[in-house]
């Protein structure tokens, strides 16, 4: 299959994935945007309007809702993309076993469909924060971060999809990891609240570097520090290596395992 026809097939796969998730509902694909939008609205309403909670001294912002949204939205996008990516191959077993199509298309389809649902809201949020804070220079880093997050979701999703094909236990472990992972990240609590000796543990969660980068861009108005780019690069390289290895060991049998 040529690159051109792969791209056109991928675009139709993504479109269909977004439609089929909400097929039979009156609002259709609109739901994909409504869900995260409502989550964001609730955070603002509860923490900043109703309770008007304030952060501690060293936090990058003092409003709790404002702080939470910047980390929670990318985290939701990550969790959604990774879990959809992880189940993408098993879910497409019927199609893969009957058509001569490369499995990678279906991983990309799921991850991309999820990312496309979250991205407009991230952009909307960035514009909103831009007007409030005026950190436009730093916000220019956002497209790069979003793209790198897409790559991260794809790599995690594909690795997990192959693991899920080999053993379905992966789904259970992933559900637990995503539930707990949010605590092992600066999404809910600012970095300053974590004991200094244990802060390294946060980076065991691949999303921590991204969350810190988003917070730096949108709350502090600073380009993410070099060390954050470094950690992101390390995670991407590590996952790419693992993916190549798993692919090598499973290429021949993958479709049989589904």
């Amino acid at each position: 299959m040529g690159a051109g026809s792969s791209a056109s097939l991928l675009s139709s796969l993504v479109k269909r994935e977004m439609q089929s998730r909400y097929a039979g509902s009156a609002l259709g694909a609109f739901w994909a945007y409504v869900q995260p939008l409502l989550t964001v609205a609730v955070y603002f309403l509860v923490f900043d309007v109703v309770f008007a909670m304030r952060m501690g001294e060293h936090a990058p912002t003092e409003r709790v809702g404002t702080y939470l949204v910047v980390g929670a939205l990318p985290w939701l996008a990550f969790a959604d993309g990774v879990s959809r990516g992880a189940s993408s191959l098993v879910d497409s077993a019927g199609i893969l076993q009957k058509n001569a199509l490369p499995p990678v298309l279906f991983v990309i389809r799921s991850v991309l469909a999820s990312w496309l649902a979250f991205m407009p809201i991230m952009v909307l949020l960035a514009v909103l924060y831009g007007f409030i804070t005026g950190h436009w220079r730093a916000i220019a880093a956002l497209p790069i971060l979003l793209l790198l997050q897409l790559v991260l979701c794809y790599l995690c999703g594909h690795v997990l999809a192959i693991l899920t094909a080999a053993t379905r236990d992966t789904t259970q472990v992933l559900g637990f990891a995503l539930g707990v992972g949010i605590f092992l990240s600066p999404v809910l609590f600012p970095l300053s609240l974590f004991p200094v000796d244990w802060q390294w543990a946060l980076y065991l969660n691949p999303m921590s570097a991204w969350v810190l980068a988003y917070q730096s861009v949108m709350l502090s108005g600073l380009w993410p520090g070099l060390y954050l780019w470094g950690i992101m690069g390390l995670w991407l390289a590590l996952l790419a290596g693992v993916l190549v290895w798993l692919n090598r060991n499973s290429r021949e049998e993958l479709v049989d395992w589904l």
Partner: protein, 425 residues
């Protein structure tokens, strides 16, 4: 990859090995360490053949012989463990119709989407859609969600899509048995027209009749290995012997003693089969069925299980109904009971046609007599089977297999099976 121009499909040393994993942990270990599977099962081993443009290869074999694996390897949905497949041009596989359709979307949406899997662009699909819709005969239903379709409608849509463009190589897995008779006939005709236009076909079926009709070469697979490859008649005869030997070594229980008699119903069925009414294009039409098959001169004994033929002149009659006025082809097959086949006759092959008994709108009744004067067989137990085909003898509309079983005591006392026409001196 492509083969030389005259060869459409070149298969060399093709093999597929499945890893057998008792527990998921073993699969995980294979994945993480790259270690080999604990046990390996070769479901296909060392298959090689060349198919030239316009050839039609039948693939036969028992269940589990590796037929489906071979077809999937050729279609590219399975990765071979060994060997390679070279081919020229577009390859279409009719493996499982309708896989990948989504029930919530309309027929039209599904069509465009599934077209993408086959490598058609949106523009191609726009061009092809009218002819696909025309062939599938779904009418306005095409814009309704797929979940409102009957299974036959889904299959019609899928078949129309996959055969919308004539491929260089067509792979068919038992797909001829789709939809109602009217549609089956269209399917067979379309495949036949592909064949006449030079399409290379690989056809996998349990229906030896269809393999004989369509294929000029046959590949016989047995436990993943090639047991025979060559001219249709040669290989099928060998395969039939193999099946018969299997049957002899493991006789079906209980089924035998009821299979006799000169009744109006198929022996295998408890109640007579009424011609089923189907509604087609607003007009009531019957399905093509056999309604009566009989043999004269059979005496049912007071005790014992089988009737005996009491005359040397055998006369059979076969009565069928069809939905249209086109004379169908009727088939008669005589076999040794639980033994070899002796002869088969089909009216279309012999240039005769059954007589019309009655014509009504949507229902025609036909009758054919067959006489075998001076029955030339030696003593034994024999069985008649009856078939109803379409006019060209391609679609089997109905079959009454092993319908009349009878004993025959020949006046001749010399050993043998049949007294062939002969001349002395």
């Amino acid at each position: 990859m492509s083969a030389s121009p005259q060869v459409s499909l070149q298969v060399s040393g093709l093999g597929k090995c499945y890893g057998v994993y008792a527990r998921p942990q073993q699969r995980l270990r294979r994945l993480l360490t790259g270690a080999a599977a604990p046990q390996q099962h070769w479901s296909l081993k060392d298959v090689s053949f060349d198919l030239h443009k316009g050839q039609c290869l039948g693939v036969i074999g028992d269940n589990g012989a590796g037929k489906s694996t071979l077809l999937k390897l050729l279609a590219g949905s399975l990765q071979p463990s060994k060997g390679q497949v070279l081919r020229t041009g577009r390859l279409t596989a009719i493996l499982e119709l309708g896989a990948g359709f989504h029930p919530e979307f309309t027929g039209r949406d599904n069509l465009h989407f599934a077209g993408g899997f086959m490598g058609f662009s949106a523009f191609d699909m726009q061009q092809l859609t009218p002819s696909i819709l025309d062939f599938a005969e779904l009418g306005e239903a095409i814009d309704r969600p797929l979940k409102t379709y009957s299974s036959g409608m889904v299959v019609r849509l899928a078949f129309a899509l996959v055969t919308a463009v004539q491929p260089e190589v067509l792979i068919i897995d038992e797909a001829l048995a789709v939809g109602d008779q009217h549609f089956q006939k269209k399917c067979v005709e379309r495949i036949d027209s592909f064949r006449r236009n030079g399409c290379t076909i690989l056809f996998c079926s349990h229906s030896l009749y269809h393999v004989r009709q369509l294929c000029d070469q046959v590949l016989w697979l047995d436990k993943g290995l090639v047991r025979g490859l060559g001219r249709t008649e040669e290989i099928i005869t060998a395969y039939e012997t193999h099946v018969r030997l299997q049957d002899v070594s493991a006789p079906p229980e209980g089924a035998v003693t009821q299979v006799y008699a000169q009744t109006d119903k198929p022996a295998a069925e408890a109640t007579p089969k009424e011609p089923v009414l189907v509604v087609k294009e607003g007009q009531r039409a019957v399905q093509a069925t056999i309604v009566q098959a009989s043999m004269e001169g059979l005496i049912v004994p007071a005790y014992g299980d089988r009737p005996t033929l009491q005359t040397t002149d055998v006369r059979l009659s076969l009565r069928v109904v069809t939905p249209d006025r086109q004379p169908p082809s009727l088939g008669f097959m005589l076999e040794q009971f639980k033994g070899v086949g002796i002869m088969s006759l089909a009216t279309h092959a012999e240039g005769v046609a059954p007589t019309a008994v009655a014509h009504q709108p949507g229902r025609s009744e036909w009758l054919m007599h067959l006489s075998l004067p001076d029955f030339p067989l030696h003593s034994g137990t024999y069985v008649w089977s009856f078939y109803l085909f379409d006019a060209q003898g391609l679609v089997v509309c109905d079959e009454w297999k092993d319908h009349i079983v009878f004993d025959w005591i020949s006046p001749s006392l010399t050993p043998g099976l049949v007294r062939l026409p002969h001349v002395w001196g």
